[in-house]
């Protein structure tokens, strides 16, 4: 009744509007959202602020802004933890894993999506079987395999493991993208005299760029952050990745909070920057990965 009088009778059928018409409820909803946003964000904010404080200041003033914004925590952490080296290794490992995965997964997805051949059902099951099984459960045979191949203490062990573990999900994700392409494209290219390989590379591959972006985003986060495989495969300090190197470093300097907070910020910053710059693509990619995978 009141709504009709206010001159917005249509507001009843528009989703979201009912909330706007009840100010008290709206305030409550925002208070609740703000509370949870604080729970998720504030610990990260504390981490950033603490990285600029000295250790005694972290103890005496854990929540406020730092008095002098000292950069010593970062500087020390960067120098003492050989952070630059770990960063280089992490970039190398994640980058090459993505590259290897794409080189291996896109043609398989393409073949499964657009050709008919006798072994197809079998291959389909072969890849499907891996989609729900974490590769970690095969770590012992994998470890011995890497040892026998002489790849322990070699970043190649990580690259091969990550790329292999990304295969099942990426193949299925990319196959759904390839399946949506019209077959006229293929036929036209074939009439123009393209070989099958050229059709794939020149015609079809550029059209599944969104799928490739999804695959890259879905895999980059767990690989960049992975701690388990470096812990087992890499002992040599020269090849440690950021999570492993920082874990060792934090363990050694646990009483020097300024140093540890500085190191934590350094370790989180690369992915955090990527996330803040492209959070829309990140979120879209990860949900697509979860829903379709």
């Amino acid at each position: 009744m009141a709504r009709t009088l206010s001159g917005r009778p249509q507001s009843r059928v528009q989703p979201g509007r009912s909330l706007r018409s009840k100010p008290l409820r709206r305030v409550l909803v925002y208070l609740l959202l703000a509370l949870f946003a604080a729970i998720f964000l504030y610990p990260v904010v504390i981490m950033f602020l603490a990285a600029f404080k000295t250790t005694p200041e972290i103890f005496s003033n854990p929540f406020g802004l730092p008095e002098s914004w000292s950069l010593d925590g970062f500087r020390e952490a960067w120098r003492r933890a050989s952070f630059g080296l770990y960063l280089r290794n992490s970039i190398l490992v994640t980058g090459l894993s993505v590259l290897l995965l794409l080189v291996c997964a896109t043609p398989v997805a393409y073949a499964l999506a657009r050709y008919r051949f006798a072994l197809k059902p079998l291959l389909f099951i072969f890849f499907l079987a891996g989609i729900m099984v974490p590769i970690r459960l095969g770590i012992l045979p994998l470890y011995i395999l890497m040892r026998d191949l002489g790849l322990l203490n070699n970043p190649l062990s990580l690259i091969l493991t990550y790329a292999a573990s990304g295969m099942p999900m990426s193949v299925f994700l990319l196959a759904t993208f390839f399946r949506q392409l019209p077959s006229e494209l293929e036929d036209a290219a074939r009439i123009d005299g393209c070989t099958e390989g050229q059709i794939f590379r020149r015609v079809m591959l550029p059209l599944v760029r969104p799928g490739i972006a999804t695959v890259v985003i879905v895999n980059i986060v767990p690989w960049w952050n992975d701690f388990f495989f470096p812990l087992l495969f890499i002992q040599d300090d020269r090849w440690k990745t950021v999570p492993l190197g920082m874990q060792m470093f934090f363990g050694q300097h646990l009483t020097n909070w300024s140093l540890v907070f500085g190191g934590m910020v350094l370790a989180s910053l690369p992915l955090l920057i990527v996330y803040l710059l492209m959070s829309r693509q990140f979120i879209a990619g990860l949900t697509a990965g979860a829903v379709k995978g």
Partner: protein, 306 residues
């Protein structure tokens, strides 16, 4: 043969690299885990065939049996608590956010941000925040006059596991929220509008429209949570050490497996029980396998096409 190659040769080149990579570095290790568990091992050297002896050892022989059952129970708690949090709080936040209120993008990005942090950082961050003397949580409580509530959360048996589980939920929750939001937004508007016209309230709409249509997504996220929680390793390793201190109160299947296979530097336990460790891995594989088959079945049976 020649004409076959001319017609299908390209397929070999399409398939070969992927099949080899996946076959050698994923399928082979997973399958041979099974084989490993059926042999005696001397360090990392394989001995004679021993049938199910490794499984019998894990399930019946002290201390393996005690560790195994306690770790399994901890993993189950890990999953149940996470599941409850994500399907109540997570779903609730998703339902609110899915209406695209002003600030939608900010809140969504905020809830998801911890997911981008590495477990090593999350573990050490909360280790410091939860420090009972200097940590921000203790100081905040003190400041609020609730100093009595301050406890060595990670150091005592009664609270250590639940604290680790909550820290994990803090990092993880953004993911189910994202998936739920996407699923809610995929529900056609007309359904909701029709219900509003029919006089349904917020709760009625949620209970009779949103929730049933979300069932497949909830099932999907639940499987992923289950798989993840039955593999959880990093957070306990980083915060509580490889033996899940205090006194195995936070020990999980994966940390138990790790100690059995690679040894525990803190207690100097006997390393390289490869056969027994493989048996643990196979048991984990069976648990996860059954749960995912069950979950995928349910998810598919409740699937809807709009």
């Amino acid at each position: 043969m020649r004409s076959w190659y001319r017609r299908h040769g390209h397929l070999i080149w399409f398939l070969l690299p992927g099949v080899l990579l996946y076959g050698i570095f994923m399928a082979y290790p997973l399958v041979s885990s099974l084989g490993y568990s059926l042999f005696e091992w001397n360090g990392f050297v394989r001995g004679s065939f021993s049938g199910l002896q490794n499984f019998i050892t894990v399930l019946t022989q002290w201390p393996y049996n005690e560790r195994f059952w306690s770790a399994l129970f901890h993993n189950a708690q890990f999953f149940v608590v996470t599941f409850i949090i994500q399907t109540t709080l997570g779903l609730f936040l998703a339902v609110i956010l899915a209406r695209r209120l002003r600030g939608f993008a900010f809140f969504q990005a905020a809830f998801f941000l911890p997911y981008t942090l590495s477990m090593v950082v999350v573990g050490f961050l909360w280790l410091l925040l939860l420090n009972p003397r200097w940590g921000a949580v203790a100081q905040g409580l003190q400041f609020a006059g609730l100093g009595d509530l301050v406890q060595p959360w990670l150091g005592q048996r009664s609270t250590a596991l639940i604290t680790v589980i909550l820290v994990n939920a803090w990092r993880w929750l953004g993911f189910p929220i994202l998936v739920f939001i996407a699923a809610i937004q995929a529900i056609p508007r007309e359904y909701r509008e029709a219900a509003v016209v029919d006089g349904a309230g917020e709760w009625g709409i949620f209970r009779r429209i949103t929730l049933p249509l979300l069932a497949p997504s909830i099932a999907m996220v639940t499987i992923l949570t289950f798989i993840w929680d039955f593999n959880a390793f990093e957070l306990v390793f980083v915060m509580q050490g490889p033996s899940g201190s205090p006194n195995y109160a936070t020990d999980l299947l994966a940390t138990f497996f790790y100690r059995t296979a690679f040894g525990d530097p803190t207690t100097g336990g006997e390393p390289g029980q490869v056969g027994i460790a493989s048996a643990i891995a196979v048991l984990m594989l069976i648990i996860i396998g059954f749960a995912s088959i069950f979950g995928v079945r349910y998810s598919q049976s409740s699937q809807v096409e709009y």
